[in-house]
Amino acid sequence: MADILAFILAGGRVDELSVLTFNRPKSAMPFAGNYRVIDFALSNLMHAGINRVGILSQYRSASLITHIGNGASWDMTGRHRRVALLPPSTGQMESDWYKGTADAVAHNQEFIWEQGPDLVLVISGDHIYRMDYRELITFHQEQKADITIGFIKVPRPEAHRFGVGVIEKIRGLPGGRLKAYQEKPDQPPSQWASLTIYLFRTSVLLEILKTIHPRTHSEGIEFGRDILARLVPHYRVFGYTFEGYWGYTRTLDEYWQTHMELLNTKSRINLKQWEIRTNLNHERIRERQPAYVGPKAILDQVLLTHGCIVEGTVKRSVLFPGVIVEEGALVEDSILFFDTVVESGATVKKVISDKLVRIGEKARVGGGEVQSPNESFPDPLTSGLTVIGRNTHLPPTIRVGANCILYPFLDEDFFRESDIPSGATIS
């Protein structure tokens, strides 16, 4: 196989995930109990034998740094293997923050020269999927492509949210020549949505990066928005079509839906078969004992992890390591991150709680009949989800409606009202 260097774009800041990404980039978002979203990209790379990786991140990367560690979890340590976190560095300019994905790669050309690969694979660290990049690479090489972009078919009404390609499919092959590319078009010319997977011939990538001048782009330079479309006429650009599951979870609702899908017997996300690996030192996963289910517990469609203690009732929910559900508590349709405690008699419905949240005795959080959309966050929060930021402690007997956003680090004393109406944001 060719000598390949990979970049993972892991810096993405997403306002849509609200309080959950106040302290972490989306790639470091916890997922399915034991994992972080970036584990999917890293595990895919590992399984493809690609073990030289640069991670481009600048936004709140502390949790990412902890998670990546030395890369041993993905077998990326050794004489010729490495995973390097590449944060922005001070350069000659006043501010050398990454201004977009292409700019981030451009800042790290030295890393490319140093490694001297034949091909550079640029992928996003934000997506839930299992893909064997070796098939993409073989396709790229057989077509003598300069650039190959990964696409997946999405429902037509969704296509406008993505980069869309027009692919001249070659019979019997997973893809073909890319005839056109448009970023988030109002009238999508096809259903092929970009997976943010770009494979470049190294010399071509370096040539492209030379043409980048961040000063002329006040909004930054993105591969998708600013570069791909204009490459199509000048280079051998191919589209590779992928047929597996792809989860992009851009909004809170999508994030929640993806987790609910995990609970489905016929889930297309098969964590075991996909062999997703993670860093077990992060959040002390490896130090925790298996889950304990008490004598009065009721479990129905639940995903559980080590360190969980369930004495109450849990339905259609995902419990991350260390979650405690006390006797008489009820948790439904919820996602509870690390070490969340639901005290006895409390009711939690359709809630995403960040780590170390405590829900006091007999509190009632989420759900409810009458729901108004979130006032400060009307776009994504209309589906009835209530989101609680990390370390926030809700006092006993408090009532919190649906579509609420509670900020991180709020103490019990902070809540003066005994009733927080649907749609409220508490900060």
Partner: protein, 422 residues
């Protein structure tokens, strides 16, 4: 604490655990879903801040060695830290297998002295307990003892299984009885010893000293400074199938005091493909799960009550698993019934099979080892669909479906591979 070297005796055969030790040493026997017995002692060593550990192995050490690996899981990697497997080595004599606990140490005098320790802590690797060894070592030094023995009060009728000590008013042990028929004392030795290094080296010079409990301590208490270190708290020997089963029941009872996570017990999740980063537990629709321990990557579609499930266990639709211990990757197919079953790794129970450990008739071949109403299935055994197996039976490892004759196995039977007649 850098002046303490730990010698961990991990050679135990543990034959009373029957098929569970068919291919592994007793300290490597799985426990509590994700642990092995030795994890308790190794973690206690780590949490006591001790840094130099020699592990004496002898009997079927393979799974033990792969479990310990580099010692990284217990933080024993580093410039001043280290864990070393010390197997028996051939010397001048015909047979240099260890002839006892003291003899095992004698074969590794070079390791004992390499780091010039002030004292040597001797432990065994097959007990379930939590202990910080620091206060014991401190007491040993403060009292200038030659040897300090950790002991615990046990019900007098149980003292027959232990080394027991008679203690004077100042806390010195003045007499010793090894596994006495009629115990005079209910102070039982836990197999935890701190030796002054010079004292131990002198004692090991006597070639007749083969075993601590049988030889060294009985003579030491008569003439030397042998100190009691009283231990209170949860401590359990799991050397029999019944004890092993009971200790697992303790895990399900928060009041028992057995709490691996609170004790800081570490396992090695990276061992031999049993990776810790398995997928989470999935409990499907309409199951019933109570009073149980579930490890990652278990998938439950049936009923699980009073049971401990290791990673990778599957409980199919309508299957019922009661009061059982299922180790890694066991499959219980739809409609099967298990009560009081200990099932070693990678076993499979076919659809609608009925396995009930409960009985009063002991195992015919091993009445001493299996008489408490349990059913033991060896590693990788395949139990055919629809079969009925009664209590106190033993199914040998790697049994195939056609090794069973008929569709019923009576109480107390032992199923071995069918011998092929030409």
């Amino acid at each position: 604490m850098s002046r303490t070297v730990v010698m961990l005796l991990a050679g135990g055969v543990g034959s009373r655990l029957n098929v569970l030790v068919e291919a592994r040493a007793k300290p490597a026997v799985p426990f509590g879903g994700i642990y092995r017995l030795i994890d308790f002692t190794l973690s206690n060593i780590m949490n006591s801040g001790l840094e130099r550990v020699g592990i004496l192995t002898q009997y079927k050490p393979l799974s033990l060695m792969s479990h310990i690996g580099s010692g990284e899981a217990w933080d024993f990697e580093g410039r001043t830290r280290g864990i070393k497997i010390l197997p028996p080595h051939t010397g001048k004599k015909d047979s240099d297998w260890y002839k006892g606990t003291a003899d095992a140490l004698r074969q590794h005098l070079d390791y004992l002295t390499r780091y010039d320790p002030e004292q040597i802590l001797v432990l065994s690797g097959d007990h379930i307990y939590f202990m910080d060894y620091t206060p014991m070592i401190n007491l040993h030094r403060a009292q200038k003892a030659d040897l300090t023995v950790a002991m615990m009060e046990v019900p007098i009728q149980e003292a027959v299984h232990f080394g027991t000590g008679i203690v004077n008013g100042q806390g010195w042990i003045v007499d010793w009885e090894e596994k006495p028929k009629k115990p005079r004392s209910n102070l039982a030795s836990l197999g935890i010893y701190v030796f002054r290094t010079d004292y131990l080296l002198d004692a090991l010079r006597v070639p007749q000293t083969l075993d601590f409990g049988k030889d060294l301590i009985p003579s030491a208490v008569k003439k030397d400074r042998v100190l009691l270190y009283p231990f209170t708290g949860y401590w359990r020997d799991v050397g029999t199938l019944a004890f092993y089963f009971e200790a697992h029941q303790d895990l399900l009872n928060p009041a028992s005091g057995l709490n691996p996570e609170a004790w800081g017990i570490q396992s090695n999740p990276e061992e031999e493909g049993l990776r810790g980063d398995r997928s989470p537990v999935i409990v499907h629709k309409n199951p019933k799960v109570n009073r149980s321990i579930l490890s990652n990557d278990t998938i439950i579609e049936g009923q699980v009550i009073g049971s401990i499930l290791s990673p990778g266990v599957r409980v199919g639709q309508g299957a019922r698993v009661l009061n059982s211990i299922l180790m890694h990757d066991c499959q219980v197919e739809a409609g099967a019934f298990l009560n009081r079953v200990i099932m070693d790794k990678k076993g499979r129970v076919g659809r609608k099979a009925y396995l009930n450990g409960q009985t009063t008739i002991p195992n015919r071949e091993f009445p001493e080892q299996l008489h408490e109403g349990l059913l033991v299935i060896g590693k990788g055994a395949q139990v055919p669909p629809g079969i009925r197996i009664q209590g106190n039976s033993i199914v040998y490892p790697w049994i195939k479906e056609d090794d069973f004759s008929g569709d019923e196995v009576a109480e107390g039977m032992t199923i071995r591979p069918r011998t092929v007649t030409p």
